[in-house]
Amino acid sequence: MDLQGQIIQYLATGLTLGSIYAMVGLGFTIIYNATGIINLAQGEFVMFGGLIMVFFTTTLGLPLFLSFFITLALTTGIGMLYERLFIHHPSKTAPLMTLLIITVAVSIFFRGIAMFIWGKEPYSLPHFSSPEPIIIGGAAILPQVFWILGLSLLAVILMNIFFNRTITGKAMSACAVNRVAASLVGIDVSKMVLLSFALSATLGALAGASITPIALMEYDRGPMLALKGFCAAVLGGLGFGTGAVVAGFLLGLIESFTTGFISSAFKEATALIILILVLFIKPSGIFGSAEVGKIKKI
């Protein structure tokens, strides 16, 4: 492959990885904004997205798109159940640190369930459309890559419309900024928290279901994804959704190019190295301004 082909190839890989990190990062941001909690079980939503999809397409043999929507719905349900069972009651009295530890416990619990159901081996899924690569500028790109990019772009746009254009979205961000004032205007804060877990889980499921055809999925993929998504969320200036999305794509691209041009040994380390460097130079994140802490915007 010539240099141009290589660059396009790495670009495609980077954008694919990036869109996954972006969605996990956005998922972090949504829950963080509504509750102040860093949900460390975010990666498990992605894992469930992949494996539940496998169950419906491969095990039950349902049509791809039907199982895709069932997967989104079920994972969303898992996210809501998670909030009601493990967050709702403790959050009334427990400090944030306790809630953070609950999310760690839940992530281990989810992994346990997944291992019990699916075992330890990785699973694959059929591609959403043809598995034949398309040759673009000397690089071979799988159509699935366009599915992943398209779906995540769609999700990001929908989230943006939700938070900036609808009253419910604004009410949710209002809860994050001022809970007391939110309940005084009649916003049901507990419902908004539930909704934030639901949305985060949907995003995770979307990422998981769309990436499994090319990246496979197994029960313990969550923590690594959560780590990358967390890096994206923090780099984007924690609490700033668009920042998390842009940072997610940057991370994906950097990871892909360092793997391609330097060494795959750095693959997992790049995100962390960048995170440490950025936090060292600009603790509020690349896109975080001093005000982001105070004036949060999604």
């Binding site: 009410a171 007391v180 004032a181 309940s183």
Partner: protein, 238 residues
């Protein structure tokens, strides 16, 4: 319209309200004055449902509301303007006002909300030219106007105001108090908590003096204004 009977409220071991009883007749303006820490904010929060751990009875238009959550209480027509404004600082003025109407916000009620906004702009003409500004960047006086306007958006029959004059220049204080008086004249029942005791006693009909969580003195404001103890403790010797 609103009636408190023997209300107690506490934060952990600290009892902030002790056996408080008060009555707010429909259409009236009642004021509560008292020193820092007397329990004024606690009293308003107990009414609006922000404080759940309380005993005693709170009835509003004949129904017991002491165990209802804030969302229910707003929907019944009681709206609180919290101490220190508490705006959604990251949102624009118009978004803050729309969220004030959150409980009945829908496509069907667009016209109604617009009418309500026009009415608000008549009361606070300044807000009309600030609709697109972020609430967090407004001046203190403007923020207080938005806080009151946001509470009015829910169409309250009873408005609870917690120190609306706090931190404002004398001219703005007069302006805000004039608006409160006007709202009352137009039919909104008002419970006004103020540190600025003289001003509060001048515009309200009936007043309560709260001391360390209980009602120390109550009466028509004309009587309170001439009461020796009140003059001495809250109005400054003259």
């Amino acid at each position: 319209m609103l009636e408190l009977r023997g209300v107690n409220a506490s934060y952990g071991n600290i009892q902030a309200l002790k056996n408080v009883s008060l009555t707010i007749p429909p259409g009236s303006m009642v004021t509560i004055i008292g020193a820092n820490g007397a329990g004024k904010t606690t009293l308003l929060k107990s009414i609006s449902g922000l404080i759940q751990s309380k005993t005693g009875s709170i009835t509003y238009e004949g129904t017991e509301i002491s165990s209802l959550p804030p969302v229910k209480i707003v929907s019944l027509g009681i709206s609180q303007v919290p101490e220190g404004r508490q705006l959604f600082s990251h949102l624009t003025v118009i978004d803050n006002l729309h969220l004030g109407a959150y409980l009945y916000y829908s496509n069907r009620t667009k016209a109604e909300i617009q009418k309500r906004l026009e009415w608000i702009y008549q009361i606070f003409p300044l807000l009309k030219i600030r609709t697109r500004q972020l609430a967090g960047t407004l001046s203190g006086g403007e923020q207080q106007m938005v806080a009151i306007a946001r509470a009015l958006m829910s169409r309250p029959k009873l408005l609870l105001l917690d120190e609306p004059s706090m931190g404002l220049a004398p001219m703005l204080v007069a302006e805000i108090l004039r608006v409160i008086k006007k709202l009352n004249d137009q039919g909104t029942t008002i419970l006004l908590v103020e540190q600025n005791a003289r001003a509060a006693l001048q515009i309200a009909r009936y007043g309560y003096v709260l001391e360390t969580g209980s009602v120390a003195i109550e009466g028509p404001t004309a009587d309170l204004l001439s009461d020796e103890k009140v003059r001495h403790a809250y109005l400054g010797k003259q």
